[in-house]
Amino acid sequence: MTQTSEPFIRIDQVEKRYPARRGEGTLALDELTLSIDSGEFVSLLGPSGCGKSTLLSMVAGLTRPTRGDIAIGGRPIQAPYTELGMVFQSDLLLDWRTVIDNVLLQFEMRGIDPRGHREQARALIASVGLAGFEAKHPWELSGGMRQRVAICRALVHDPALLLMDEPFGALDALTREQIQLDLQRIWQSRRKTVLFVTHSIAEAVFLSDRVVVMTPRPGRIHAVLDIALPRPRDLAVRESAQFSAYVREVGHIFQALGVLK
């Protein structure tokens, strides 16, 4: 990767320490440096508690690093960065709102009149295969459908950056594979920069341009793998020798780190 121009996201020697009643506190992230280019799909892969969600939260400006800097588009992050969409493991849909009104929450929370954006929300909902469900309530949908609505909510205002914190962790295996394909399609057609947190090796390899492998606490970057699988990737890619080689490589790293025994 060329470092001549400023990358879209620059994470520079970031450290996060949680204070304890006595002593030095818990070091969650240590000396973490990473650059992400515009339009890249990057996964943060690591065991539970390695601080990958904390890093995501710091990129969003929701948590302050104890040390180090983060900049997006050359602007240092000091307050919540709002030109992005976020998706969490829990879909966080509001039961009292219909599907379309849940998507339009994105505008309402920003103080923008949602009425002018109904058509674009409707089109987005249709593009994830939920046409006809606009007036349903979340409790009438399956887990996979709910998470699709959450993705629509994160995209409806067309942000350049999408932050996803284990978004498919609560879905069953079949739903998960389908929604991964859909996310790839959305990403390819809209060219968002995606920072994706997961603890599934296969998911990270399948979706990403680069996989950032993190160590257990304190979280450090152990390796960054470029995934040179051709796009668009279909399910057959998972059968390929190249895909297996990447998964094996990450597996070996985790064995070496003592995460897998």
């Binding site: 969003a60 919540p80 709002t82 969490f88 966080l92 039961d95 009292w96 929370m109 309530h137």
Partner: protein
């Protein structure tokens, strides 16, 4: 729930009441219970019909005290719960004394209120207010606090100011819990108003109960109890209907059309 289901449910409810009354009548007849101890359902109904102007008038007094105390409790308790959630300082300032006052049996305060407010409606309203107040505050606080922290993170990433998070996320999310408090409080307000009437009153159903008891007029006593339970039930179900209108989306309400 279909229309047929609802008719069937109503039929079962009526049947259960009919069975209870029939059993009551049977017990009175079989054991030859004297009227001053347990009057038969027919005697109670007779007393009720005979005294209906009295019962109606006194019901209005009691209902007024219940409603006034309850509304005052709602109007103070819900905003107070909001303030306590909004400000840690106010929480430290208000919450401990509030819990401390709850340790006093509120019914024991009724004689004091008679001293302060006399024999009018105010001691009843005061006891109803005090006793209905606490569950509403507590459930408001629980409801407002119960939101998923990730939801707040999401709202912050949308740049939402705190007041908008409150109106669009916290408050609607808290409504099911607040309604829980409102329902508990609705039955407590009845207890409060009635207690006030026991302690010192010349009006209301509590007064009628005390009088009937002194005269060993058990049929009237029973008739008053029936009227009282009808009032309490009507009040409770009114809150339930309001709940169904306000939170049709909640899991407890689905499948129960208004």
């Amino acid at each position: 729930m279909t229309r047929d289901d609802r008719w069937r449910n109503a039929a079962w409810t009526i049947l259960s009441f009919v069975l209870i009354i029939a059993l009551w009548d049977l017990v009175v007849r079989v054991f030859h219970l004297p009227t001053y101890l347990v009057p038969s359902p027919g005697t109670v109904m007779g007393a009720g019909l005979e005294q209906w102007p009295l019962l109606l008038e006194q019901s209005l007094w009691t209902s007024g005290a219940i409603l006034a105390g309850y509304l005052a409790a709602v109007l103070v308790a819900v905003p107070l719960g909001m303030l306590i959630v909004a400000s840690p300082l106010l929480e430290r300032l208000l919450y401990p004394p509030m819990v401390a006052t709850q340790s006093i049996p509120k019914i024991a305060l009724a004689p004091l209120f008679v001293v302060w407010f006399g024999f009018g409606i105010w001691p009843k309203v005061s006891v109803a207010f005090l006793i209905a107040f606490f569950p509403i505050v507590v459930d408001t606080i629980v409801g407002l606090r119960g939101i998923d922290p990730a939801m707040i993170q999401l709202a912050r990433s949308m740049g939402a100011p705190r007041w908008r998070m409150f109106l669009k996320l916290r408050l609607p999310h808290a409504l099911p819990s607040i309604f829980g408090g409102l329902k508990v409080a609705s039955t407590l307000a009845v207890v409060g108003a009635l207690t006030g009437e026991f302690i010192g009153s010349d009006r209301g159903l509590g007064y009628v109960l005390v009088q009937a008891s002194g005269q060993l007029n058990t049929p009237l006593l029973f008739a008053t109890l029936v009227v009282l339970s009808v009032i309490a039930m009507a009040f409770f179900y009114a809150i339930e209907v309001l709940e169904r209108v306000c939170i049709p989306w909640h899991v407890s309400q689905r499948g129960h059309p208004v």
